[in-house]
Amino acid sequence: MADILFAIALFLILLSTGGFIVYIIKQREKVFLLSCITLSAGFIFHTLFLVSQYFTLGVAPVISLKSSLSFFAWCITGAYLVFHVRFRLRVLGSFVAPMAAILMIISSVIPGVEQNINPILRSAWLVVHVMTIFIGNGILAITFISAVMYLIQEGQIKRKTLGSFYKRLPSLETLDSINHHSIIYGFPFLTVGMVTGAIYAQYALGSYWRWDPKEVWTLVTWLGYAMLLHERLAVGWRGRKAALMSILCFLMLIFTFLGGSLWLSNYHTFRNLGAGAGL
């Protein structure tokens, strides 16, 4: 059942990715509408998949790389749909949908280890910890994408080579404002995720902070985002500098996520989570 839901979600997201790519080339309103509807349908099936996973496993479906990548994709899609309601920036979908699709494909290809659930993982704190961190990641992915779009557009205007992206991308201020808002929304989720993680660690392991590499790297990333937010709000950073910084921060975030999950960490790795040997 869950596999079918996931397959449908993956299919719909791939379909909408194709649609969004056609949209950015052809600029047809109908293509956009169809892609957006397909993506929303994919999101709904994905949500159903996650809910069914939650009930069968009894824990949030994020304890393996496989499932967390799929959850990451869900967060990005969700963040995009919410931003679409707010900003109506169509072309963003052409960047978000492929990203979500790639994460979903990777998730569907790598083998999952969903057996042997460590009882310590059955905790509401863990659910909140993981949920908020990933929602934060999803929104910060929008920050990253808008920064990339900003640099493309800014480069074209600055160098006076107004290529095909020039017409399709929105104005610099629009992109900057999306970047700005997505940090403002994403950062608190990241923060809450870290705090709840610390509380969960205290409850499960007896200490708030263990200098685990993933914890340290997350802190570094968090400080990066905190600095960016501070510079934006207090010093008036914007535009190119802010875009570069948000790209750097997101790369750190991805590094933390993959590195920390796969090989750097002691107890945060999925191998340990899955085997029940860690923690």
Partner: protein, 429 residues
């Protein structure tokens, strides 16, 4: 047989002095439409008048006489003798007229191809004719709606109205790619000149809130500022106001750079990195090109803008071919509908004749049916209706199929004779 005719003149057929005589004036449109309504030879009419063209579009059964009426009306509207402008008129008939109107609405016949105003002007003209003066009917209503549809397709399916083909317009387009919107922005205009003022005018048209004007001569600055309800500032204050401005247009006769790297760099911190867009129309240039290297600052000089305009013009030519194809498609669609109009009167006559016969026979038989109950009489009534419908159904279908094909006239003729449609008319009269 009703014909669609379009008589008019545009920027290609008539010089500006002549077009001025018919200058866009609501009173004249009213007069023209009233003239078309009062003439018995003209069935439906629309009058379009903009600063670049006049068009009288009408349907008539008497093309020669109607043409005379329209030219004499033009002569009265413009206050000039017909001989003085006859050679500047073009006359299109039937599908040529349809094609012409579709092209005009799609902005393919405009002086600046793809400019968006013309569609609005035609919509206004149609509204005036159809709602206020009530001079349109079945054919022109359909024709105009198809014209709007064609125009919409051209706009959405081709890039014809996307690219800027004038320097000032290109500058506005660029500003829109830098700023979220132009509402509430501040423009600083340094120097004077036609092109700079045109760019300022375009920007104000897009919602720019305030305009600052600086000039070496303060008198001149005040003069230009009054023109746009802006504010004049001293030349020495430029550095200070650079902090507030979002868009700076420069067009001075100065040989040296008026805007140096230093002036801009100093304002950056106070601007808190808000983007700053320089439009440098002056030759030699007023803005140091090095300014473009500063963060969040964009400098476009006249050459840069000209390059954009040239690229856009060639792109627009390609798109125009696509647009002409769309217009052709829509004309063919309209043609199909227009041709069915010929058979419509015969079909209606056929239906009326059948219904009249049915009613007469029904009335004649009623006394004999007095024994029957109400519901039985109704059943017989229904029977006669469906019987007559069935009998004339196939003739109607084959007439519709013949619409717009050769041999149609023979079919119409035979139908009228077989069903005695014209005899019936005679009896009535």
């Amino acid at each position: 047989m009703t014909m669609i005719i379009d008589i008019g003149m545009n920027h290609l057929s008539a010089p500006v002095e002549l077009r001025e005589c018919f200058a866009n004036d609501p009173g004249k449109t009213g007069t023209a439409l009233a003239c078309m309504r009062e003439s018995e030879l003209i069935r439906e009419g629309i009058f379009i008048s903009t600063c670049n063209r006049i068009e009288a579009l009408f349907t008539t059964d008497y093309p020669e006489e109607a043409r005379m009426i329209i030219t004499s009306m033009f002569s009265r509207l413009g206050g000039i003798a017909a001989e003085d402008f006859l050679s500047n008129l073009y006359i299109f008939e039937d599908l040529d007229a349809v094609t012409h109107i579709f092209r005009v609405a799609s902005s393919l016949d405009s002086m600046v191809v793809g400019e968006p105003q013309i569609l609005g002007q035609i919509k206004d003209a149609y509204h005036r004719a159809s709602v206020t003066e009530k001079t349109t009917g079945v054919i022109l209503n359909r024709l105009m709606h198809r014209a709007f549809h064609a125009a919409k397709r051209v706009r959405t399916e081709t890039g014809i109205s996307e690219s800027a083909v004038s320097v000032s317009y290109a500058a506005v387009e660029l500003a829109k790619k830098i700023f979220y919107g132009l509402e509430g922005r501040k423009v600083l205009l340094i120097g004077a000149g036609e092109m700079a003022e045109l760019a300022a005018k375009h920007l104000i048209g897009q919602g720019v809130e305030s305009l600052l004007v600086a000039n070496r001569s303060f008198d001149k600055a005040i003069q230009v500022a009054d023109l746009f309800q802006g504010k004049a500032i001293l030349f020495e204050e430029i550095g200070h106001y650079m902090v507030e401005a979002d868009i700076v247009i420069t067009s001075t006769g100065s040989k040296d750079f008026v805007i140096t790297h230093d002036i801009v760099r100093r304002s950056l911190k106070e601007r808190r990195n808000r983007p700053l867009f320089f439009i440098d129309i002056a030759v030699p240039r007023d803005v140091d090109p090095a300014v473009n290297r500063l963060a969040d600052t964009y400098v476009y000089d006249i050459d840069d803008l000209m390059t954009i305009v040239q690229e856009n013009s060639s792109q627009r030519r390609d798109e125009a071919i696509k647009a002409e194809r769309i217009v052709q498609e829509e004309v063919i669609r309209f043609e199909r509908w227009f041709k069915t109009l010929d058979v419509v009167p015969t079909i209606i006559a056929l239906k009326e004749r059948a219904e009249a016969l049915r009613k007469a026979e029904m009335e004649r038989s009623l006394p004999a049916l007095s024994q029957l109950t109400e519901s039985q009489v109704q059943a017989i009534e229904a029977l006669t209706v469906s019987l007559t419908d069935k009998i004339i159904n196939d003739p109607i279908l084959s007439l519709k199929n013949k619409a717009g094909r050769t041999g149609k006239d023979t079919f119409l003729d035979v139908t009228r004779k077989l069903f005695n449609l014209d005899m019936e008319n005679q009896k009535r009269s």
